[in-house]
Symmetry: C2
Subunit: 393 residues, 2 copies
């Protein structure tokens, strides 16, 4: 049985966290911007990182450190992405891991690092090194840490679950920050997920990979993939429970999907949450292409912002998506209302479909009628407010 509980990233036994203010973005107007998540026991670690070829320094350092398969802590900051910062940036990211390691009594190589915020600006590494020792760890600070890593997010994102098994209880929990993009540069999707389940590194990797595929990799707000996107999982075995992999995956899914939905709902200027369930594609890749083309179409998203169930723009987006498509076989539903059949608009009363598109949350089912492959994405509308927030300087 999977039950939602409080505690976020410290819901699992043996995990502590804490945060403080390092004045990273602006030392004159300090806010909490530095956090540490720590496992009291050795933990196996897995991570998924941005596939953007422009990778921020913390991504490069974390990829290097995680290759051992183990980690004891993650140090995270907002206010500066440490991206496009060259060799100096790499040095700064390494210094962050070493400083956190010194305070925690572990090696720098056992610490991972995540940054989010401005691009192309040196980290104020002295202020960070000064601040790290001030962080007080506890098992009640998860929400505070979730707040410290916020950038344009309007609310902190955390979730945890308690799972009962015949062999005992284990926990999975996490924190995340949003994929919204902010003035003057880009932000990032970051998440740390912890569990006290016993699991091998290889299995943790498998479970995390699958869970990310069905959550964070399904969400798209503006189609722009950041240089810093990172999801890290730590498993310390403190529960002494080794759950069946399917159950562990279910718990990870619950945590990752909740965090991913929170990120979409907190996207910049977002007024609608839209699920696109694409089925009937000729291949898995086609299903993904068609669903993402709809989700990323500026025109489709603008239509939703206006409450317009514009099926023509949906057809058009799929047509240029690169996916195999036979116009005459396409079906489109808004919730349970058939809007397109055989590529042609049905006689479903337009007002009924409009009423669905006017909701704050709705589901669009698209069937290509060509095969058995499917893909689901979660996306949003595109509003004037989004443009306003991203005008830059």
């Amino acid at each position: 049985m999977i039950e939602q509980i409080r505690g976020g990233v410290t819901a699992a036994a043996g995990f502590l966290c804490g945060s403080t203010s390092a004045g990273i973005k602006n030392p004159k107007a300090p806010r909490e911007d530095l956090a540490v998540v720590y496992s009291e026991l050795p933990a196996v670690a897995a991570g998924t990182f941005t596939t953007n070829l422009v990778k921020a320094a913390p991504v490069r350092v974390s990829m290097e450190h995680i290759s051992s398969g183990e980690a004891r802590a993650v140090v995270l900051n907002s206010g500066n992405a440490n991206a496009c910062t060259g060799p100096d940036g790499l040095k700064d990211a390494r210094r962050m891991t070493v400083s956190a390691g010194l305070v925690l009594g572990v090696a720098g190589e056992e610490v991972l690092v995540c940054s989010t915020g401005r691009i192309g600006v040196r980290m104020p590494i002295d202020r960070i090194e000064e601040a790290i020792p001030r962080i007080k760890l506890s098992n009640t600070a998860s929400l505070k840490c979730a707040k410290a890593i916020m950038t344009s997010d309007t609310f902190p994102k955390e979730i945890a679950v308690r799972v009962e098994t015949p062999k005992g209880v284990f926990h999975v929990g996490g924190i995340a920050k949003g994929a919204g993009m902010i003035d003057p540069n880009m932000a990032t999707m970051l998440s740390v997920i912890t569990t006290d389940a016993k699991v091998s590194q290889a299995d943790l990797k498998k479970v995390l990979g699958g869970a990310v595929e069905d959550s964070f990799n399904r969400i798209t707000i503006d189609g722009d993939m950041s240089t810093n996107d990172t999801v890290i999982a730590l498993a310390n075995g403190a529960s002494k429970v080794r759950p069946p992999l399917a159950l562990l995956r279910e718990a990870f899914d619950a945590v990752a999907q909740t965090l991913a939905r929170m990120i979409v709902k907190d996207g910049e200027g977002v007024t609608k949450f839209v699920e696109i369930a694409l089925t009937g594609a000729a291949s898995k890749e086609d299903a993904r292409k068609a669903a993402e083309a709809i989700a990323n179409s500026t025109l489709v998203k603008c239509a939703w912002a206006g409450g317009d169930p514009n099926w023509g723009r949906i057809m058009d987006a799929m047509g240029y998506s690169g996916a195999k498509l036979v116009e005459e076989k396409v079906s489109i539903d808004y919730e349970d209302l058939p809007l397109v059949r055989g590529g042609l608009v049905t006689d479903t009363p337009w007002k009924k479909v409009q009423a669905v598109a006017a909701r704050k949350e709705f589901r669009i089912g698209v069937d290509l009628g060509l095969g058995k492959f499917s893909h689901t994405v979660w996306t949003t509308d595109l509003t004037e407010e989004y443009v306003r927030l991203n005008l830059g300087e």
Copy 2:
């Protein structure tokens, strides 16, 4: 010598055109919405059509008719795209060619058809058939025709050139309508180019293909490719001049590039015209991918709208473009100002770069430092006004 002249699509000898009002979108508020371009002599024909897999009926019919390599006329309408209209739509498109053919005294198969406007709505074919005979052809009606095919365009688009050669004079001219997308459905890029040069069908195809590649295929406003995009070229040889192909291509380039720039400048809600000249890519395909990723990035476009030369977002967009990229080798210039070298921001005064990004028109040079391939695109910013115009119903 290539010289710009008046006359648009009728600047070339032997071409006539005319337009009328058929009340296609709204019979109660009629406007000119139907046009015919006609060659008094037999003409060879070439066309480039949308690669969207959802192709409107007029696109399918024109592709069929143009396969003969010859055509005498093009009938065009605004107000209805005749897309996603099934077998009925195909019938309507064919009826338009037959009706125009009857009036012009040519076979329906010698007539091409272009439509733009609402998607998924039956053509008011009776009103169109009634209106076609009312069209008066002349060699002074090009601008009137350019107006008749406008949808969300704010100005008609036409251009013509006169080319002197040692063997005599020939002309190339054209009309076009914009790629902006409009309420409640999508619009389209349409263009008809005429010439009185003597040229074989195979050569015309080559010349048009090259000219389209370097003009209409370079422009991107919102990354959405329409179901109806069509460029048609007719060459009737009336000048009796068979120019060298390079010269004909130069004349076609002048016409097509002028029309393409007009389309970008008239994009919905557009306040800036941006040329992205990408060089140093490892392959032609990589050059295109990287340039288009920048041009289509919602975040980059929003930054420009705010006059922000946001190089971080440009780096990010190239990073996920799929093009080969080595961060440390990237250079970015705003006009002649070096902004990024070796993947790092330079010390060029930020105010100077901002002053460039504040202009209504500017050029960004991006060099990947990996090879000898290049690609240039023309694009725009993304404004709140764009979103407002595309909110749909």
